[in-house]
């Protein structure tokens, strides 16, 4: 049962991720990205990490993508305002993507697929477990990342204030 669920979710994830790239309209790209986040949250639930799944939805689908949508809505996106790209940049990007593809193939060939057994009944993704881990084993990184967030917040407020004057 969980194999079929996984396959369905995985295919949906890939389709929606491709749709993000191939959509002509940036609005649709953003919406496909939200769909993609939902399917990834589904993967977390399959791994028994409900807390992570919900937080993923709240933070990414609920907050960050709203801001993305906000910006895209305010932009005036027409065919005539679109910047014209020169042929040189097109060729350069094609070569870069090709090279990356080669590297990807080479590294995939060298990788050996290990066995992975999903532990059936773990509580590792539950709130209590995550909280205990964060406040014991990973206390320092946790606190440091909170300082990082604080500085980012102060920085953005500062930037917003500067523009006014």
């Amino acid at each position: 049962m969980s194999l079929y669920l996984f396959l369905t979710l995985a295919i949906l994830t890939i389709i929606s991720a491709l749709a993000v790239v191939f959509s002509k309209n940036p609005m649709y790209s953003v919406l496909w990205l939200i769909v993609c986040f939902f399917t990834i949250a589904g993967h977390y639930v399959l791994l028994n990490a409900q807390f992570l799944a919900i937080v993923h939805l709240i933070v990414y689908a609920g907050a960050i993508m709203v801001l993305f949508l906000f910006v895209v809505m305010l932009l005036n996106l027409n065919a005539d305002t679109e910047p014209h790209k020169s042929n040189l940049s097109k060729i350069a990007s094609a070569i870069a993507a090709g090279l990356f593809f080669v590297v990807l193939i080479a590294s995939m060939r060298a990788t050996e697929l290990g066995e992975f057994n999903l532990p059936n009944k773990t509580n590792i993704g539950f709130v209590e477990e995550v909280g205990k881990k964060l406040f014991t084993d990973f206390l320092l990184p946790f606190e440091i990342s909170s300082v990082l967030f604080l500085s980012a917040m102060i920085g953005s407020v500062l930037l917003a204030k500067k523009e006014k004057k």
Partner: protein, 343 residues
């Protein structure tokens, strides 16, 4: 797969769905009656006795109106917008414990669709997704008033989610659980009081934020008709408009249920256990108690709407960011200190 469980949940979901729609329909009637009462008018009284058939007449009107999709709109998203809004409005009801469980000849019939151990966070996830319905609908209309309304709705929802989240954190500190059923049960029994007594400031913040999240007056700026015509639903007509308006009443019903469950003991009332009722009767009583609380809060929503004038947009943002968020953080600190030193 447990088929009995599946059948139980299906029945329960269908019942909750029907009840949500029924309550939302009669909330529109109640809203107009209460408005009339507060303004010394009669209100709707033509359709049926006391105007009781008014919601059905409104529904027929909504369905038979001409369906207009603007030429310059994004037609697909124009239809998807109201659908998302309605869907998220209905999704929240899954985690609410509606009462004590029934027992039909040894078969337990629980009255909660899903007792998630991350229940409250699920609530936040669904609320934050609800904003997309308004944003997508407003943007797809290709109308400046609709777009302005959509942007207002989105920024209002983001701003008030923060204070709401912080007020919930203080509640979690006291109850030690994210599951709604455990929070409800933690408010009953010996020595336990309703959370509103233990968290009066948290309750006030949550209530204000619930008004803002539902886009209800005095925070109905996304659709403020005096400046934005109709806000995000300016271009909508027929049942798509109906979905937007209807979902607002469902949101109101569900928020009332959540306020009742989080802060007012849910389906418990003081002394419910000392009555010693048989299980099925106790279940019916508990449902009745919860719905009495819910109806009171729906009335409260309407009472406020017809009493307070609409905020200005800068006032709304000031209230959210400069008063409610600092207040809720202080509330978390005080609660934490109290638990550390006195428990």
């Amino acid at each position: 797969m447990d088929w009995a469980l599946l059948l139980d949940k299906t029945i329960l979901i269908v019942i909750i769905f029907a009840v949500s729609l029924g309550i939302a329909a009669y909330s529109t009637y109640g809203e107009r009656k209460i408005a009339a009462f507060l303004q010394d008018r009669v209100g709707p009284d033509r359709a049926g006795p006391f105007g009781l058939l008014q919601p059905i007449a409104d529904g027929v009107k909504m369905f038979t109106k001409e369906e207009i999709i603007p030429n310059a709109s994004d037609k697909f998203l124009f239809i998807v917008g109201p659908c998302i809004f309605m869907m998220t409005a209905l999704m929240t009801s899954a985690i609410i414990p509606w009462g004590k469980s029934f027992n039909f000849g040894g078969h337990e019939f629980g009255l909660q669709v899903a007792d998630l151990n991350v229940g409250l966070l699920y609530l936040f996830a669904v609320i934050s997704i609800g904003g997309y319905g308004i944003m997508i609908g407003g943007w797809a209309s290709n109308n400046k008033f609709a777009l302005l309304g959509a942007l207002r709705a989105a920024s209002q929802m983001i701003s008030y989610e923060l204070a709401m989240g912080m007020s919930i954190v203080a509640l979690l500190l006291i109850n030690n659980s994210l599951s709604l059923r455990e929070i409800v049960d933690g408010q009953a029994g010996d020595g336990n009081v309703w959370n509103v007594v233990r968290q009066p400031i948290g309750f006030l913040i949550f209530l204000i934020c619930a008004f803002a999240e539902c886009n209800r007056a005095p925070f109905d700026l996304p659709e403020s008709e005096s400046e934005l015509i109709g806000g995000y639903h300016t271009e909508f007509s027929s049942m798509k408009l109906g979905l937007f308006l209807f979902a607002e009443y469902i949101n109101m019903f569900i928020s009332s249920a959540i306020i009742a469950s989080l802060y007012f003991g849910g389906y418990h009332f003081p002394g419910i256990d000392s009555l010693d009722l048989p299980q099925n009767i106790a279940a019916i009583v508990s449902i009745a108690v919860l719905f009495a609380k819910i109806l009171f809060f729906i009335f409260f929503f309407m009472w406020v709407r017809w009493t307070l004038p609409r905020f200005r947009y800068d006032q709304l943002m000031n209230l959210g960011w400069k008063i409610l968020i600092p207040l809720s953080i202080v509330n978390v600190l005080v609660t934490g200190a109290w638990i550390t030193f006195f428990k």
